[in-house]
Symmetry: C2
Subunit: 199 residues, 2 copies
């Protein structure tokens, strides 16, 4: 008899995020289902806290095994700003606001981080993170992607921003893909009776 | 027989906020008690949503009649930024960050807003707001108060910033005092059988 794929629900309103995650899950033979659920986001300095709370809440309300994700853009010279509030800051200040804050700032280190939390109803959530390091560009460049992509140059590559890369190239090693891959490895180990809650 | 003062619990970790609110409540003969409770703050564009959620959650957990408050500093030219995330932005960008974003910006309109939500266990919260309008100063001035006070000049006064006023003078017509006074008027009407949930 063919063994059924383990099934997990991804609570997100964002279809792009779901497709990116589903591709990672599929490579681990995990069936990721789209749960169109408005997740509850708390205010916190830490993405893992935000994602864990969202997963816990979604599992409780829907009575399903869910993952919830949160991501942010962190600029070192701005003490991590915009961090957990990247979406709000993007909509209010925009990229121009970040570039203005970074004018004449020498240290341009920045990173994208994603946190993926998994939760079963009435259980404690388990959280996994992924990071892409890089720096803030002097000017925006490129038209692909979204959010802070046009001003982020990942380390270890050429000088292109995320917005100058195709979605496939960007997603291959994105913070979100890394966090989801960590979750998938843990999840598979766990569904075979192995416990390894390191993240 | 002497009638007991109506009693409400203010869920806050901040003693300064409690004292400011207690003074307002006292002038309405309402007994405000300090509930040292870490309120849950959700991410939202709207302070009323944040305060209402916090009050609902605190009432549920403590089984008391509570008020919860949220406040923010809104700059019109920055699309309301930092708004609901004023505290985080103050800790990361600081006043210098706001002044940098406002350099050479003509429209300096800004306001402080507070939202005070009242909730009985298992009831829907009711929310009241208060606003102080003014503008963003060119430079910070004054040493009193906290947060954005040194760069906020309230309308209708002289050219002093909030940080150049004494606490008493500032609090007399603060956004927080206004929101609490609105709550108190409603609460007294309600405890005498009059329903007036306008805010």
């Amino acid at each position: 008899m063919k063994e059924a794929k383990p099934r997990v629900y991804f609570a997100t309103k964002n279809r792009g995020k779901f497709l990116e995650a589903a591709r990672v899950a599929d490579s681990f033979k995990i069936s990721l289902k789209h749960l169109k659920f408005e997740k509850q986001e708390i205010q916190a300095w830490n993405l893992t806290e935000i994602a864990s709370h969202a997963a816990f809440q979604a599992a409780k309300v829907t009575n399903k095994n869910v993952v919830a994700e949160d991501a942010g853009f962190f600029v070192r010279a701005l003490n991590g700003f915009p961090g957990p509030y990247s979406s709000y800051v993007f909509k209010t200040l925009g990229l121009e606001g970040i570039l203005r804050l970074m004018r004449n700032v020498g240290n341009r280190e920045a990173y994208f981080q994603a946190a993926v939390a998994y939760c079963k109803p009435s259980h404690r959530p388990v959280c996994f993170t992924g990071i892409v390091k890089g720096r803030v560009a002097r000017h925006k460049r490129g038209t692909q992607g979204f959010g802070y992509d046009p001003i982020f140059i990942p380390s270890g590559g050429d000088e292109r921003t995320f917005a100058e890369m195709g979605t496939d190239e960007k997603n291959l090693n994105s913070h979100r893909a890394k966090a989801f891959a960590r979750f998938c490895r843990w999840f598979l180990g766990r569904s075979h009776g192995v416990s390894s809650e390191t993240s």
